[in-house]
Point group: C3
Chain length 341, copies 3
């Protein structure tokens, strides 16, 4: 694809500073970009590369200036990058149809407009809607539903009765609907609590590779509209993840915990069970969350605390060895004072 | 299924407080339950829902009272719930037989009473016993054994020579018998140590989705009878997990570490290699375990300490910024006293 | 296989102390070994087993002595063990050829010397080189390359355009090339940033079961020559892992972070994005890395600090409850002194 910088500016609703007639053929990173390439500056850490990049043009925030460079000024360069990549690198069209070596039980309902690769297995009672794409090795359990336009990459497993909405993306190895971890008298009897619920994933959700989402013990585990979950995340039985929440890699959320809308959980954090996080809570990476958090709070640490308190604690901690010496010195000085009496 | 509350009481060995003739058709959560539903109260956190639930009856602990509600009093409501769910929602029977598009090498021994779905691969020398269920995409390596009645969900991989006992449940994506992580002169030569051992999983074990269990370097990695392991857990080479131990999601156990019987490890904890945890040790979630622990201890923190010491440390930590100010004030007061001399 | 101790010594370049004529048939662990077995002592923790082992001979470090035992003295017993295991337990030869029920798109280029098991899917434009082994359920995306002699265990997924070098080992369930986690205006819009890059894995890399490696947003995620990665590790988009680095289980590395050569990262550690770790940096297990680290440093803790500082901090921390009492006592003593004025 070839576009002039001015054409791209019109597409993105941005303004050109420099030569609007220059032709862009590719999008590349700021260090690799050369002639014919557009690059972007979204993270201030890479500001120093702006002067030295060989790119023909750079997508930047509105307040940016750089002598002698062709800039495309937009409100949010990262957001604009997303739109630009979708323009330059459109998804390849998949050919609808059911491949060979596919195993579909009698009583499954697969749209002729779906794309079903070889090696897929669809159980009885399941429904696969139009334009859904099932890559090789996908397993759809009994009475499960895969909504319109959803993409299931290789080896995704959807257990019986789980419901996947429209335009959902499940990356390779995702497991939806495995049994929740419920055993009575643990460590002694380990009597299994049958997990008879299901998982409901609403529209426009994306879930990263090898992430696991357990079915409800009773009722549902619920991933609401627009949620984005990274790789290797564990979501336990009966968890609710509110609309548009974002969960980074290797997070673990224990049973029956509920997240509000737009919650953001940093990587490797862990949440105990049976708690509620309010809307737009932000949890720092590696935090350990042990109780409810009201809306709009930023928390960090394990056990977690408000972010400001955590900063104070970390500052005090870094001075702890020094403080230990101070206290020892104070003991000596007091002893000296006491002796003089 | 329909049962009166009295019939259920007889089945569970419990006592009715209220109308024993009421008919129960389903089991549901305490917030969703309505007419015809039985629910349960196992976690005191949900005590407030007892008055407001619309359920026809509630399974509760023996000391519970609630005016105007039909209660079923039992010793352990969670345990009773497990038995009740098994009664109301029995497992669907699988039809024995070997599906199409199954690939079984010559010299593999598969019971005609086993259930083998399409897309399964069984290597030479392997044995699959009666009533074992192999879902699509299961891989059984050379000379591996799958015992009677075990269920392997989609895409489980059992590497060569690994032994799976009877009534074992392996959830989707579990890997049994991958190479242990052994490299000589790490970071310089990374010379691979061949991993020539195996994994032995005893009867009645259940392992969660996408958990990985490495084969022994020499000899076995051993998961003993009745152990329950959650999702995304890492068990390294030559680890021994003692009978009926319980390991929560995302735990990592390093090479050659041994757990006694009935050990419980909370989520996201990590254990170094070559240590022993005694019987019935309990490890709090997110702990870092760096040395042996005697039987029956409860530990927490990273590095771990006895739970009481950990509580004291956490209490002191939460006061640290305050203490820092106290020490600064003490310094000023001592300086003032010293000046007066 | 049968070899005398002297023959083994010649093979390994070691020296015999004891009976060089004794015949060795197997290699076993120091606690299990008996007559005809060779064992090894690489970890000083097991020194006590040296006297009591029933092994016919023991592979030990050069400075070791043990009355009445047949010792094979070498510079590095663990490294020698690796060579010995490769001698006694050679890999089984795989028969070249393409199995039944394999699905290869027109326009894929698969060497007749490759080993392709049933249930493999290879997309158009992909290339599989000689002696590569693809186990059942492996998925090779469009235009991907699998180099000579690489082994992909069951259910490995290689997304489109990813490049796998020679002699690479990918264990079961590894995902290479899933989309990086990039969403603009997170928690509000979650607008997807298309991930149009790829993953490049160089020669002699080994990657553990169910590990996930995301493709670059633009350009590549790059795992360099000789790197060893354990199970359940998360490598985000555009990360670079330098030659011969070693990454232990359940580590997470965030986007665009770069590791130098020979870096060693302990289990469950987490690294933020956009930082650089110099050559031969060592990161302790469970550390949280938040900024650049110069070469050859050893760090620990979360947030991380140089290992010595971390030791001092941990020592001070363990005395914190005690120090709290000391400070309270100091307050009382100062108050008493002040009163006396």
């Amino acid at each position: 694809m070839k576009k002039t910088l001015s054409e791209i500016a019109a597409f993105l609703g941005g303004d050109v500073s420099g030569d609007g007639g220059i032709v862009i053929e590719r999008i590349r990173g700021i260090e690799e970009a050369g002639e014919g390439d557009m690059t972007f500056l979204a993270n201030p850490k890479y500001r120093k590369n702006l002067e030295t990049t060989g790119a023909s043009a750079i997508l930047v925030a509105r307040d940016t200036t750089c002598e002698g460079k062709n800039l495309l000024l937009v409100d949010d360069p990262y957001r604009a990058l997303g739109r630009l990549l979708a323009l330059f690198y459109p998804e390849e069209e998949e050919t609808a149809g059911i491949g060979e070596q596919v195993s579909i039980d009698a009583g499954a309902d697969v749209s002729p407009e779906a794309v079903v690769y070889p090696g897929v297995h669809i159980c009885r009672g399941a429904r696969v809607e139009a334009r859904a794409v099932l890559y090789p090795g996908v397993f759809i359990g009994r009475d499960a539903v895969i909504g319109e336009g959803s993409i299931l990459y290789p080896h995704v497993t959807v257990y019986r009765r789980c419901l996947i909405g429209k335009r959902v993306i499940l990356h390779a190895g995702v497991v939806v609907g495995s049994d929740g971890f419920g055993f009575a008298v643990p460590g002694r009897e380990n009597q299994k609590i049958p997990q008879v619920g299901y998982v409901q994933i609403d529209d426009d959700v994306e879930i990263g590779a090898n992430t696991t989402i357990d079915r409800g013990t009773l009722g549902r585990t619920w991933i609401q509209q627009g949620v984005k979950i990274d790789n290797l995340v564990q979501i336990a039985h009966n968890v609710v993840v509110g609309e548009r929440s974002v969960i980074v890699a290797q997070v673990g959320i224990s049973g029956s915990t509920q997240l509000g809308q737009g919650v953001i959980i940093g990587g490797q954090a862990g949440l105990v069970g049976h708690i509620r996080l309010g809307d737009h809570v932000m949890v720092a990476a590696r935090s350990g969350i042990h109780k409810d958090i009201p809306p709009n709070q930023i928390v960090a640490g394990a056990p977690h605390k408000p972010h400001r308190e955590w900063l104070k604690l970390e500052a005090a901690l870094s001075k702890l060895p020094e403080m230990r010496e101070t206290v020892a010195a104070l003991q000596r000085r007091i002893a000296a004072l006491e002796e003089k009496k």
